[in-house]
Structures are given as C-alpha cells and as structure tokens.
Symmetry: C2
Subunit: 199 residues, 2 copies
C-alpha cells in the first residue's frame, strides 16, 4: 500500500480507532491536518502530548486534572458538605455544563456489573464511604444514569451509605426540557406522572 | 469553567474543529484517550508530531509523503508514461484503494473556481504541462470528481494539454457497482445510457 504512505497510514489507523470515528472520518480528519500541518496538526500533537503527560486522577474525587487535587476539589468556593456521585468523567462534565451544582463530586469510574465482574472496590465506593466522615458530608446526590446498571449501582451505594446517616438524594426523573410526550418512552412518562407536582 | 479543566478543554476544542467532529464527539474521543493515556493518547501524540514534522509535498506530483519525492513517484515499478490527474490527496488515496492503476499521479490541490479566485497557477496545472514533456508522458487520465467544478477543471486541462498532443482520457461515467437504477440520479442514468457498450 503506497498511499497513504506508512506513517500517515498508521496515523489514520490510530485516529480511526477513536470512538465515534471510522476509516473514512479518520482519513478526512488526517487529510485536513496534513493540509494545515503548522496550524492544526502540530498544535494538536503538542496539546495531546501535554495532556497525556500532565493529566492525573484527582486523589479525592477521581476527576481528571493536571494536579494531585483537581480544580473542583481545590476550589474553596465549592461547598464541601455535598458530594455528587457520577459514573464517569463525561457525566461530571455534563453536570458542570448544567452549571447549577456548586458542591464536590465523586467519580465512580463505571457501574457495578456482575457480568463484567465490576465490584464496589473497582468503583471507588469504599473511597466514597471514607469521604463521608472525613469531609463531614451532609448530602450525597446520586447523579447516575437512568439505566439498569446506573440504578443498580445507585441502590447499592444508598445501602452502603445508610449506616453513615448521610442524606441521600437522586436526580429527578421526568420529561426533559423541550421534550414532546409523543416521542418519550413509556417509562419516562410513567415516572413523570408518578412524580407529578402541584402547581 | 472548571470541568473540563483548561488543558483538557483546549484539547477538546482543538479536536472538535476537525472536519466530521463536533463538541460531543470530541469530548468522547478525548475522554477515551484520557482513560488510555499510555495506550492511546501518547502514541497518537507521537504519531501526529512525527507526521507533522516529516510530511512534505512531493516535488513532482503533489502527493504527500515523507521524502522530497513521494513513494509512488520513487517506485520504479510504477509506469512513467501515464499520469492520473486528481483533485486532491483523498482522491489519490481512493484511486490507490481501487488498486487498478499502476502509473503516476498529479495532485491539483483543488478545482478551478472563479468565485474563490482559484486559477490554473494555484492548481499545479503549469507543473502538469511541464511534466508531459519532461517525463515523455503518453496518456493523461483525468480522474476529477463528476461535479461541475471537477468537469470544468477537466475541460480546462484538456484544452491546456491539447498542444502537447498527449492522449487525454477521463474516468467512465455510469452505474456504480451494486448501484440500483431506482436510487440513481437522472444524470447518471443518462450518462450510462449514452455510453452503453455492446455485449
């Protein structure tokens, strides 16, 4: 295979393995970078190398930052009495984009799974229990995905935290903003109905 | 904005600007790399840096390789008497994937465009004319896209090469492999009909 030549072909193969990309989109992306080597490719290479070198898991919450303690845990303006438990970094980012939460986080790194042999100790759950006392936490908000795995994990954590006496809450379930009933699944409509509120 | 933190947020923004990606797919890709920093992120950073540093346009044909002369032009097994003219690197790669072509290429780097002020000298067309004599070329195959711009450029090149007396051909137009007539546009069907061949 002469075209794309070896180094470029290898690069395309690496890009194609990223989630959400495939051979065609990888070729397009690499081609774009080949055309703008100084403007796009070199800065991206530097940014990747820098993040790969400096990124580390926050010792407290599991968020990824560039220090031993992530910017959220290090921020004195973030309330210490509340911990929002999320499955993954992407969920933490989603919560931050929402912008309404001013407390700390705890990133589990996945959900419990008997099939994939993921147990509590794989998910930073013991670390969460330890934080409840160490940080005098008053409320734990379980912001896990509304999937079977997420809800199973939420129940397990609620049980595990029960002895500590901390208040435990979960995100409300219901109709999403802009949601049209006709396009919602039955489960969402049933949940929104049973959790209906008086106006 | 605390999450994603600065370096990671900047990286996501850079990835999101690549063609075919957006904020969401960039976040997914970066998240994947953050989880596999040693296995995915560092090798990709190195591959990008290496290609950005070594990639250069072939002095003869405009293909991108890692040497002054690209692997195709440097390959003695590729016939020298035939030049396949393509708009872009991606078209060269597509021709090579097809696998049937054993001659040399000439990458124009775009199409003529009055609106975008792209003239012949912006497209390596003078270099193509020069190659006809220098390399004793007998046939030029115009493998330009079947778009208005591609065909306009093909006609211009055919006119420009007429004085050299070189044989000029173009890719056949017709029904693509696996194509169903019902899903083809009228232009393709008309072209396939007028170019029908006896069995």
């Amino acid at each position: 295979m002469h075209a794309p030549p070896n180094d470029i072909g290898a690069l395309i193969a690496q890009v194609a393995r990223l989630p959400g990309l495939g051979p065609r989109s990888a070729r397009r992306a690499v081609l774009h970078m080949l055309r703008k080597r100084a403007l796009v490719m070199e800065p991206l290479a530097r940014a990747l190398a820098r993040v790969a070198e400096t990124a580390r898991d926050c010792r407290l919450c599991g968020n990824i930052g560039t220090e031993d303690i992530c910017p959220i845990c290090a921020d004195p303006r973030r309330a210490t009495g509340t911990i929002c438990v999320v499955e993954d970094l992407s969920d933490l980012w989603a919560m931050e984009r929402g912008g309404g939460y001013k407390g700390r986080y705890h990133v589990l790194g996945g959900t419990l799974s008997a099939i994939e042999a993921v147990g509590p100790e794989d998910l930073r759950i013991p670390a969460l229990v330890a934080r409840i006392e160490a940080e005098e936490v008053r409320e734990v908000i379980l912001a896990l995905n509304a999937t079977v795995e997420g809800q199973t994990t939420a129940h397990y954590i609620a049980d595990a935290l029960a002895p500590t006496g901390v208040a435990i809450s979960a995100l409300a379930q219901g109709v999403p903003m802009g949601g049209e009933l006709d396009y919602l699944d039955d489960g969402t409509i049933a949940a929104a109905l049973s959790a209906r509120r008086r106006l």
